[in-house]
């Protein structure tokens, strides 16, 4: 607890910084010039946002129009990338959200909207605010069903400009926390009922309290941004879009537990996140939020970056610690827990990115506000990356307790191409596949665990009828088997055996007793493994066996893949009744030249050559839709190559 003097000093220091930041922001906002906000997180860049930006710049220069280009992070609507919001006050229109802005569209918008004042309604998704002229995007479920706590500022501010975060109240919670007793801060987090967003849902306050009580002066806070789930990218996007909220959360954590050093453990595969985070830490240091005597409070705290080298198991906290220490990242027994003995023996608090990002809003708005969001057992929001066979993939932040059905069908637009929903995989390699029967399960820590999945860190993969559950299990086991650190025999050898059986099944070579063995072995691996990787690796197998047993049986008994996805069990052929004579669309697309012309100028597929890539299915014009799949492969009608073609072959 600081003296009254110190409190006044801190408040004054913050006030000065905030005033300047707000003035800068206001200058930008009040400018009469048009503003072009472009989403520049990884998926924006991958969709061509840099080219879009260049096109805007060139077109503006060409036409001699002045406008402000403002690069922002991810708005979460990754399906619509490159996303651009144009605010053109002179036109009389509100700010407008444009999806899929290609360089061509950018040029067109500069000419027609910025110059001539026509917003081109056919390209508009909606206005970003309520108004009389253009329907607002808030009319879509994808927008209005969200509740943003963690991602509130993502896609609105430039992550490279600390003043934009501060102008929105950023680092205000830190100032509040500095003026309180550390215990009071922990009490607030406890009252809020915050549970860790890294997977297990461990109460954050309990972890902090233990670390506060631990002896040892050189305590550490680690932000776990290893994000090992191969199919999830919430943490990375948050760091790319609003790093300061995470940094602020970490500083608050540090003063609550009495730590002097912090560490971001970020995957090296995330170069943009590393770059943005490095800049953010420097800017926070320059303004006195980090370093010695933070805002004149007398407290010291600073942050380093460690780049994780891509081992899934290093997301586990004891393995993470080993890797920071310079060893192979192998988990160890707990206790001692990291809060007692962590990096180099120091008491260490390890929290997920989203957990830390939730701290500033709680400190700012209070425990009651937080409790009012979500469910009693899981207060607050959850951020999911909803991907796979879903119409509007991207990042979604919802209050805990929303059902899977609402999330997948209402908010994310359901399954594209009129396909049927089959399963949703939650929690990555540690989680489970849930069938349609579970769609009314609310999303919260306890309900998902009861259903056999788990919250995990926020990965959600939606699968349609064309996805084979046996193959998905094989995929996950392939991953966990490779990533097992090898310390426990059950995890090392057990996952190998599981994988062997699953591989056999996907090739139609299943043996008597395989399914039973999958079950017994799964249980054994769960029991005989030390860390969460081994303990949860069999979950995808166990859940899919429980909910999709018929698929396993079809593979095993009939050598048939009901989804025609396992390639060893599937064949492609062209339905001669549907094939349009003389359309060559499938011929050119085949990477192995397996498509040939039959004697009556229709097309056939050489089963010897076909690698079952499915390209011809896509290439065949929808009017004909002549390429079919069949499983087992032996059912395929054989169409011989005409003799002259055979000759050319040999």
């Amino acid at each position: 607890m600081m003296t009254g003097d110190a409190v006044n000093r801190v408040l004054a220091a913050y006030q000065a910084i905030a005033d300047e930041a707000r003035a800068r922001r206001e200058q930008f906002e009040k400018s009469p010039l048009p503003k072009i906000h472009i989403g520049m997180a990884t998926c924006g860049i991958a969709s061509g946002a840099l080219e879009t930006q260049a096109a805007f710049e060139a077109a503006l220069a060409d036409r001699g129009i002045e406008a402000l280009i403002h690069t922002v992070g991810c708005v979460g609507h990754c399906y619509a990338e490159p996303v651009v919001i144009i605010d053109h006050p002179d036109s009389g229109f509100p700010p407008i959200f444009y999806p899929e802005v290609t360089p061509g569209k950018a040029k067109m918008l500069v000419k027609l909207f910025l110059e001539e004042g026509d917003p081109r309604f056919e390209h508009v998704m909606g206005a970003t605010v309520e108004n009389e002229m253009i329907p607002s995007v808030m009319e879509f479920a994808r927008f209005n069903r969200e509740k943003r706590v963690i991602m509130e500022r993502c896609g609105r501010i430039d992550p490279d400009q600390i003043h934009e975060y501060i102008a929105e109240g950023g680092y205000g919670a830190l100032t509040t926390a500095l003026c309180r007793k550390p215990e009071t801060v922990i009490d607030e987090i406890e009252a809020a009922g915050l549970r860790g967003r890294g997977g297990a849902g461990f109460p954050t306050a309990r972890k902090w309290r233990a670390a506060r009580a631990a002896s040892g002066s050189d305590k550490m806070i680690v932000c776990n941004a290893d994000e090992g789930d191969p199919g999830a990218y919430m943490d990375r996007t948050l760091l790319e879009s609003n790093p300061h909220q995470v940094i602020e959360g970490m500083i608050i954590a540090a003063l609550a537990v009495g730590a002097a050093r912090g560490l971001f453990y970020v995957r090296a595969e995330y170069p943009l996140a590393v770059r943005i985070l490095t800049t953010a830490v420097e800017q926070a240091r320059e303004l006195g939020f980090l370093g010695t005597d933070i805002l004149g409070s007398g407290l010291d705290f600073d942050i380093d970056l460690f780049q994780g080298s891509g081992a899934f198991v290093c997301g586990e906290e004891t393995a993470l610690i080993r890797s920071v220490e310079g060893y192979r990242g192998m988990p160890r027994h707990r206790p001692p827990y990291p809060v007692e003995q962590g990096i180099d023996g120091r008491p260490t608090v390890i929290n997920n990115v989203k957990t830390l990002a939730t701290i500033p809003p709680i400190v700012e708005k209070g425990a009651d506000w937080f409790r009012a969001i979500g469910t009693a057992g899981s207060p607050g929001t959850a951020v999911f990356s909803v991907v796979g066979n879903v119409t509007h993939p991207g990042l979604v932040e919802i209050p805990m307790g929303v059902t899977l059905r609402d999330l997948i069908f209402d908010i994310c637009g359901g399954i594209p191409d009129k396909k049927r929903f089959k399963a949703v995989q939650i929690g990555g390699p540690s989680g489970g596949c849930l069938s349609a029967d579970f769609l009314d399960t609310p999303v919260d820590f306890d309900a998902l665990t009861r259903a056999g999945a788990m919250m995990g860190s926020g990965g959600m993969v939606v699968m349609d009828e064309d996805v084979c559950m046996v193959d998905v299990s094989r995929y996950f086991l392939d991953f966990t088997q490779k990533e097992s650190c090898g310390k426990c025999t059950f995890c090392r050898i057990g996952t190998r055996h599981l994988l062997d059986i699953l591989r056999r099944l996907t090739r139609g070579e299943g043996r008597e007793g395989d399914l039973e063995q999958l079950e017994t072995l799964s249980r054994a691996v769960k029991q005989g493994s030390l860390c969460g990787l081994g303990k949860t690796a069999p979950n995808p197998v166990l859940t899919s066996l429980a909910y999709f047993r018929d698929e396993y049986e079809a593979h095993f008994k009939e050598g048939r893949c009901p989804s025609c996805a396992c390639r060893a069990l599937t064949a492609f052929f062209i339905d001669l009744d549907k094939c349009a004579r003389g359309c060559d669309a499938c011929v050119g697309c085949c990477p192995v030249e397996a498509v040939f012309t039959t004697s009556n100028r229709k097309k056939g597929i050489d089963q010897q050559l076909c690698v079952k890539c499915g390209e011809c299915v896509v290439a065949c014009p929808p009017d004909y839709d002549a390429v079919e799949k069949v499983s087992p492969a032996a059912l395929v009608p054989i169409i011989e190559r005409p003799p002259e073609k055979n000759k050319a072959e040999s």
Partner: protein, 172 residues
């Protein structure tokens, strides 16, 4: 596979040596130093492992033991155009494996290998964070979303054509 160091590698190795010398010592530096070495050379040849080992006064086999544990480190040189195919869940569900196979077939190497002319290499990576664009592949630093076998062919062809063009211009 044994790879001899190119003149370029040698030059990089020398720069690396000075960089390492001015770095702090201590076991915790091991992984950051390995990352520094890989950044300089693109991979970790034996000489680089030795430099790190000497600096930290640990054995080379200890350094190798740690390096080989992590997916990030590679022990053979990458191609000038390293291809990385995403094998994350979203990409798997949307046919990432087929994309990988197409690269393998087109370049006549397997995942983890480099073409003889050191032009291409293929690697699998887990989720690069644009699952909404699945399936995804990287060629060099550039991300390509919504991949399809025909796009694989196009990308490889493009690199080869550009190289030929450069060679023709150089010959002029």
């Amino acid at each position: 596979m044994e790879h001899s160091l190119t003149a370029e590698d040698q030059a990089h190795l020398e720069i690396l040596q000075t960089q390492i010398k001015s770095s702090p010592k201590g076991r915790g530096q091991l992984i950051p130093l390995l990352q520094m070495a890989q950044k300089a050379l693109g991979y970790l040849p034996d000489d680089a492992l030795s430099l790190v080992a000497d600096h930290l006064s640990v054995t080379r086999s200890e350094v190798y033991g740690v390096a080989s544990f992590y997916n990030q480190f590679r022990f053979n040189p990458p191609g000038k155009n390293p291809v990385k195919v995403c094998m994350g869940t979203a990409c798997h569900v949307r046919g990432g494996e087929i994309i990988l196979e197409n690269f393998e077939r087109k370049l006549e190497i397997r995942e983890g290998e480099t073409t003889e002319d050191r032009e291409f290499s293929i690697e699998r990576v887990a989720c690069v964070g644009c699952c909404a664009l699945a399936p995804v592949a990287l060629m060099g630093e550039i991300l390509h979303g919504h991949m399809a076998p025909s796009k694989v062919e196009g990308l490889v062809l493009q690199v080869r054509l550009e190289k030929e063009k450069a060679q023709r211009e150089a010959a002029k």
